[in-house]
Amino acid sequence: MRFKHSIKTAYRGLEQNRARSFLTILGIVIGVTAIILVMSLGQGAQALILDQVKGMGTRTIIVGGGREPKGPSDAGQIFNDSLKKRDLDLLLRRENTPSVKYVMPIVFGASGASYQSDTFNLTIFGASPLMEKIFDMPLKSGTFFTEEDIRGRAKYVVIGNKVKTELFGADEAVGSVIKMKNHNFRVIGVFAERGQDFFNFDEAAIIPYTTAQDYVLGIKHFNRFITEAASEAQINDAADEIKLTLRESHNITDPDKDDFFVITQVDLAGRLSSITSVLTIFLAAVAAISLIVGGIGIMNIMLVSVTERTKEIGLRKALGATYKNILTQFLLEAVILTGLGGIIGILLGAFFSWAIATGITKFTSIAWTFSFPVSAAILGLGVSGAIGLIFGLYPARTAARKSPIDALRYE
């Protein structure tokens, strides 16, 4: 029996029950669609996160107070106040951290900002002029504040592009005064638009960290130190130097008891991408359950089909079909069914993830890129084919085992 003919026969068998065949593969279609969708969105999210982390600069090392937040239970660590002025001074000493080029303290908090009758909720970052260098943030207009302004606790603010648009519209912002936490700040600069990034600077206001600590947030500690290694080769050395300096400053001998954490940009990228990978795999596994349910549906319908076509099976056997011929025919039917479901699922999944990607790019400022998950598509097709084989085997064997005479007599 020729393979080509087997396919034609199987196809004809399915065509005779078009509506039923379609309903049968729905489970597979939904399962594969879901898998493709999840994988594609997962890839997109991962690419986006990695892109944003890379935007921080590859040499960036972040130091935070408290334990590194590893889960929801560590959320309180964000209020940890272990990083003090003393630590900043020690880190700034060249002999303590020879591999570190810049150290910038950062404090942050949420605040409303108002200008005339307009109000906008933003994030206040207390930073230093190093901001421009570490994050590569060009100004659209105006200037950045200086070391002098830090010392003098100047009430100057550099605002993100979105803040400018929300409060001032098309008007000139530099020189105007905005109100945040009951203090007046003079706008001295506006950042160029950055698009969605890790810190969302477009919706932020940057003020001298001293001003932020004393007037706005009322705290003595720092939330983060953003540091930069002198070169990419020195990232690990720099991280080690920072740890040693801080342990000495905090009188810590056991590294397990660190009340601070140090993350390099590479660590951060790796951690974030492993989180999205785990999430993606978990969601894909949930979707895979529907594939199994779909497979059981296929088996059920194939059994019905075998019973319905008992007479045809008997006839084919009488005309010389062997056990293998009949087995192949029904297996192929199942595999064609699930394979078809797989292909439709891949197309639908690709379409939906493309639509979502397009929607995100169009209606938000997030630079989401659509990526077709080739490996997931191959996997989806392979798995749905395999499901056809596995769940088709029992009905196909039932068909192939029928004795020709019993089958012919069947009414």
């Binding site: 020729r2 004809r12 056997k317 010389g320």
Partner: protein
């Protein structure tokens, strides 16, 4: 060596430990080129006999030799090959593939054969022509009349050029006119093409188209006689 040699053949169906003996020991032989009708009332065992001879069913004891070889020595695949190569079947209820063309129905046995694919088309067209259905080649079989359907079945039985054609009540579902035409076609296949034909029927009228009649009753052979005066019907369909 006879083509078919049946000796003391018995067949007992076992169903849920209830034994139903159907054949009680029948013996006869059939030579190449014969046209034999097996007759008997329903329940006599004639269909069972045909199924055993057609390698569609096994037997309980005794011996059935086809071309000199004992049938029970063939395994499943070997019986499938014999059915495909050496035997042709015509059934009372036609047993055609629904929603398929005349051509596809006649072609069907070739798919399971070792006939090279290059010959399939010619063989199929020839077989369709023999039964006079060339003008219906592309028709869906569900659109054909009963007589035409049975002719498609005959063409299908012929397409692998078998040694024996088994016809199980081939006229049972047909009116007398198309039934007669079918019988004449079988007769012509026997006389002009030399096919061995084994016919199962319960009508004397139909059986008299054969050269020899074996009568079966209650699983035993009642009589085995030559037909003195063979019946012929007008309207045979053979075109060559």
């Amino acid at each position: 060596m006879p083509l078919i040699e049946v000796s003391k053949l018995t067949k007992t169906y076992v169903n849920d430990e209830v034994e139903t003996p159907v054949l009680h020991g029948v013996s006869f032989s059939i030579e190449r080129g014969e046209f034999v009708a097996i007759m008997g009332p329903s329940g006599s065992g004639k269909s069972t006999l045909l199924h055993v001879m057609g390698f569609l069913d096994g037997y309980t004891s005794g011996s059935y030799r086809f071309e000199g070889q004992e049938a029970s020595t063939y395994d499943g695949d070997a019986t499938a090959r014999i059915r495909n190569k050496k035997l042709g079947f015509i059934f009372q209820s036609f047993n055609l593939l629904p929603h398929a063309s005349v051509y596809d129905n006649v072609l069907l046995p070739l798919h399971y054969s070792d006939v090279p694919e290059s010959e399939w088309k010619k063989r199929t067209i020839d077989a369709v022509e023999i039964v006079g259905l060339t003008h219906r080649t592309k028709y869906d079989v569900t659109r054909l009349s009963g007589g035409e359907k049975q002719r498609v079945a005959i063409a299908r039985a012929l397409v692998c050029n078998p040694e024996v054609i088994f016809a199980d009540e081939p006229t049972g579902n047909l009116d007398s006119k198309s039934g007669g035409a079918i019988m004449q076609t079988l007769q012509d296949l026997n006389e002009k093409h030399g096919h061995t034909i084994i016919l199962i029927t319960h009508e004397t009228y139909t059986a008299e188209h054969a050269r020899r009649i074996i009568r079966i009753k209650d699983g035993l052979i009642e009589s085995d006689t030559k037909v003195a005066e063979r019946r012929h019907t007008n309207g045979g369909l053979l075109t060559k």
